[in-house]
């Protein structure tokens, strides 16, 4: 089986400081990988380099494209990479406001990606938008409301619908449950888990919340000071951590 994403020796420096260094891994279709670590560990830098939002200094990010097979996305032309960002890739921001157009309706937010790939039939676009709002548990009668009128959890679910409507194969998520109430988090996680399974999505989730990765991720990558210190099956890394930093991270979680 060809990996969906092959990352090789990815390095990003901010001047003398290391953002992330020599990161390599393969992500297979349907796999969900969590990246954990404390603030400043380089996990967001890594995610942004993978998603093409930041230009790394070295390395390769090889994606198995539908048309041409594995292609290094860092060497793709910009139009091709941006097209990937609207079709096969999706990015869920921690702050829904960064991932939504706050000034247009929920329906238009979901429809935008469809229109970006050429949908020109209003009725069809709207039908798909309503369908997706339903899948993220937003009532049909809110389709014409602007995201400003939504709660934080709803905004986040809307962002997810907006991202998944074009049937992407790889989803990048940056702290998708950050800043939400615990009960809202649970609902969102449940939803994400269902969608990931149903659509056979591959995903890379950056979070500092170990409960989130235990629920969503198949495997984990633990980062500290820009370097990957440990990788493995999620429950194995959390239950039998090998690296001192991971042990500290796991033992620091408050038990409820």
């Amino acid at each position: 089986m060809t990996p969906l994403l092959q990352v090789r020796d990815l390095t990003k420096r901010y001047g003398a400081r290391l953002g992330c260094g020599d990161v390599s891994f393969d992500l297979y279709p349907g796999e969900v990988m969590g990246i954990v670590g404390e603030s400043g560990s380089g996990k967001s830098t890594l995610l942004n380099c993978l998603a093409g939002h930041l230009a790394p200094d070295e390395g390769q990010v090889i994606f198995d494209t539908r048309a041409e097979g594995p292609v290094d996305t860092l060497r793709m032309s910009e139009p091709a990479r941006r097209m990937l960002g609207r079709t096969d890739w999706a990015f869920v921001h921690q702050n829904a406001r960064d991932g939504l157009r706050m000034g247009v309706s929920a329906g238009a937010n979901v429809g935008e990606r469809l229109m970006a790939v050429g949908a020109r039939h209003y009725g069809d676009i709207r039908e798909q938008a309503v369908d997706w709002l339903g899948r993220v548990e937003i009532a049909e009668d809110r389709v014409d409301d602007r995201p400003r009128a939504f709660s934080g959890g709803m905004q986040q679910r809307l962002q997810i619908a907006r991202n998944l409507v074009t049937g992407p194969r790889l989803v990048f998520m940056d702290e998708p449950t950050g800043g939400l109430d615990v009960s809202v988090q649970a609902r969102l996680l449940d939803l994400l888990r269902g969608l990931v399974r149903e659509m056979g999505l591959s995903a890379i989730i950056v979070t500092h919340d170990l409960a989130v990765v235990r629920l969503l991720a198949d495997r984990l990558m633990v980062m500290k000071s820009g370097a990957v210190v440990e990788t493995g099956l999620t429950d194995q890394v959390l239950d039998d951590p090998q690296h001192g930093y991971t042990q500290l991270l796991v033992s620091s979680v408050l038990q409820v």
Binding site: E31, A186, R187, L189, D240, G244, L248
Partner: protein, 230 residues
């Protein structure tokens, strides 16, 4: 006949980096082999390493040496996705505690392993109904999430989930604990049925009678406990 589960010369120690790098060896030279249709009980005092061995078989703990083969896969060296595939298709695990996502109804919780192994939804739900009924979980609860159930009800949901898919190999951690006599009998029946269809089973049973009834052999894991420096 080829063993379904084979453990050879497995060792395990914990290194506590944040406590002065203390190394705690917990297992050395572990050997175990289970044939299809066979049920082997792990015995030994509390802390002897029964759970540790089970967790290593499931890929939940890493081993430091030796090999662990389950259905042809070397668990000690496998990639995460290979271990996940093994857990979906080959090796079932009935733990002592139910760990589920909030809000998912009981019927789905139980049917899920069937779907994960590639079964159809109808087949999974039919199997789930059957098991829940046999384990006397009231039908009015099936559409609710088990998170709010009593401990006994949760345990029965957990067992139903564990037996939903016909795994060729199974790990059972105290499957009869905290069950009344009726349900205990049902669980033992399920184990017998699993053996009859050829499942290789490794279990921890504190319930000596149950153990005597379903297990073919016992392995005393304290044999694998390394000498510890006092």
């Amino acid at each position: 006949m080829e063993a379904m589960i084979r453990v050879s010369d497995v060792s395990k120690s914990f290194v506590l980096h944040n406590q002065g790098g203390a190394v705690i060896p917990v297992m050395a030279g572990a050997e175990l082999s289970v044939q299809p249709g066979e049920c082997v009980a792990l015995v030994g005092d509390s802390g002897a390493g029964k759970s540790t061995l089970m967790r290593m078989l499931y890929g939940n703990y890493l081993s430091n040496g030796g090999s662990i083969c389950v259905g042809g896969l070397d668990v000690a060296r496998a990639e995460p996705r290979e271990i996940l595939a093994m857990r979906r298709e080959v090796l079932g695990y009935v733990s002592q505690f139910l760990r589920v996502v909030p809000r998912v109804p009981t019927l789905e919780v139980v049917a899920e392993p069937v779907l994960a192994a590639g079964g159809r939804r109808e087949a999974g739900e039919a199997r789930a109904r059957d098991l829940l009924a046999r384990l006397n979980v009231p039908e009015r609860l099936w559409s609710l999430s088990p998170t709010t159930f009593s401990g006994g009800e949760q345990q029965r949901v957990n067992i139903a989930r564990g037996f939903a898919h016909d795994f060729p190999a199974m790990l059972l951690d105290e499957p009869t604990a905290s069950l009344d006599a009726t349900n205990r009998a049902v669980v033992l029946e399920l184990i017998e049925e699993a053996k009859a269809r050829g499942a290789a089973i490794v279990g921890i049973f504190h319930d000596a009678e149950a153990r005597a009834q379903v297990c073919d052999r016992e392995i005393d894991v304290s044999r694998f406990t390394p000498e510890r420096a006092a």
